[in-house]
Amino acid sequence: MDTQNSTTAPATKAGPSISKRFTQFFVDVYDVFAFIARFFKEAFVPPYEFRELIKQTWEVGVRSLLLITVTGFIVGLIFTKQSRPSLLQFGATSWIPSLVSIALMRALAPLVTALISAGRVGSSIGAEIGSMRVTEQIDAMEVSGTHPFKYLVCIRTLATTISIPILAIYNGLIAMLGGYLNVAVNEGTSFSTYIQQFFQPLGFIDFESSLIKSTIFGFTIGIVGTYKGWNSSSGTAGVGKAANSAVVTAMFLVFIEEVIIVQITGWFR
């Protein structure tokens, strides 16, 4: 009898917990979609916060420039350096600019920019809004008849959606210079020849898909950061958790989106 009890007890205990988690998962999914729906409902109706949008776009864009410049240059340089031995075996080193341009413009520049931004911007948005939530600053905005969702969520998400595609293009161009340094040192190719070979294999769809992809990445980073911050709780520990979770979730979603977008653009090539 005792044995029977001891074997059935854990199963009964685990039952509600699993169903509770299962239900919670769908509640969370609903919350995320409701949050995104609220963004679209509030972002494009007056009152507009143009000054704050410019400020936040500046924060996201201009303050990321140094990091984007350094990483872009290094990515271009390293990618070119690592590609060389394989192409050298076939005597195809003249193809390096084309290879670099395709890799950078189609995938690396938007992806690297998004990952860096998720780390730098996503975490800071999560932490900022999270700390405002736990110190009741958002409640204070709410009770003073202002629009905290528009001011904090919509503006920051729009700022990342605007800035990250621009940063991605900039990152691609800087990476191109990094690649040129390696090509110039090894092959002595002139800058004009390198540029010509770099842009030759690229079509309109490559720029278009990169821009669309970066815009989606930017929106994802903004909305995830603001969602995690907006829903943070449990004091300062909750703020840290929100910042950390914003980075991890945004990076994960960026990779998933990359796979899906690559598939879709593949159909149009």
């Binding site: 900022e128 405002m132 009741e136 409640d139 204070a140 905005m141 003073s144 202002t146």
Partner: protein, 257 residues
């Protein structure tokens, strides 16, 4: 130290609450609250920590939803109000938070301007500056205008928090633990400020506290919240002259400890 009688209009209720209940899971915080607040009255809600005092004013301001009951504020039923009307109503209610809730990325000036420019978009820069300076002068902190919240003392933060709510000229003020964490002298300054606000801005107020000095100094009427209901209401002396052991205990502990 005792509150001077005010010209309270007992014919006009600015807040009227009936049968209000609120639970968090199995914990029943408010169990059928009935409460009226009259024009130009300061009502102090006393009670131990965790008895639902802050929950009550958060429901009044629409930050939390009631489980049942009616909450009428300035003629608006808060439990069924539309978001747009709630937004409008909130400009007539001032909420002073326990930790002041100042926007820590903004200077004092920006903190005060924030609700003003977003609710009265037609205001000119000169008018905004004048209103900010006037309200800062009312709380006696004109010199802090360009300081960041982190540079202010606890008492100054409370006063700036009150100034930020006053800038919209609210009809009702809700104070959540206005003297919590302050030394006795600063507490008395805040109590005097609450009375000055009532006189100068003609506000009706609910003051949530467990500080009996604050209750005695600022309250025209005191209500004692115990077990999710108001057990006693009246003047400060009326509330504490009864035989209820828990009320007596609250009084004794407040002055002994």
């Amino acid at each position: 130290m005792e509150k001077q009688p005010q010209s309270i209009d007992y014919n006009e209720k600015v807040i009227s609450i009936h049968g209000l209940t609120k639970s968090f899971g199995d914990y029943h915080v408010l169990r059928g609250i009935d409460l009226d607040l009259f024009r130009k009255e300061n009502l102090v809600v006393l009670g131990r920590s965790g008895t639902g005092k802050s929950v009550l004013i958060k429901i009044i301001s629409g930050l939390l939803k009631a489980d049942s009951g009616t909450v009428n504020v300035l003629g608006n039923e808060v439990t069924t109000i539309t978001p747009q009307d709630l937004q409008q109503l909130r400009t007539r209610i001032g909420f002073s938070f326990q930790n002041s809730a100042l926007y820590d990325s903004m200077t004092v000036r920006k903190n005060l301007e924030f609700p003003l420019v977003r609710n009265q978009r037609s205001l000119k820069r000169k008018e905004i500056n004048e209103m900010v300076e006037r309200v800062l002068e009312a709380v006696g902190l004109s010199q802090t205008i360009n300081q960041m919240p982190a540079e202010l003392s606890g008492g100054q933060r409370k006063r700036i928090g009150i100034a930020r709510t006053l800038i919209l000229r609210p009809e009702i003020m809700l104070y959540d633990e206005p003297t919590a964490g302050l030394d006795p002298i600063t507490s008395m300054e805040i109590n005097n400020l609450i009375n000055r606000v009532q006189e100068r801005f003609n506000t009706s107020s609910i003051i949530i506290t467990h500080d009996l000095t604050c209750a005695k100094t600022t309250g025209d009427r005191v209500a004692m919240l115990l077990d999710g209901q108001f057990q006693r209401q009246g003047t400060f002396d009326e509330v504490f002259e009864g035989e209820d052991v828990r009320v007596k205990q609250f009084y004794d502990y407040n002055f002994i400890n």
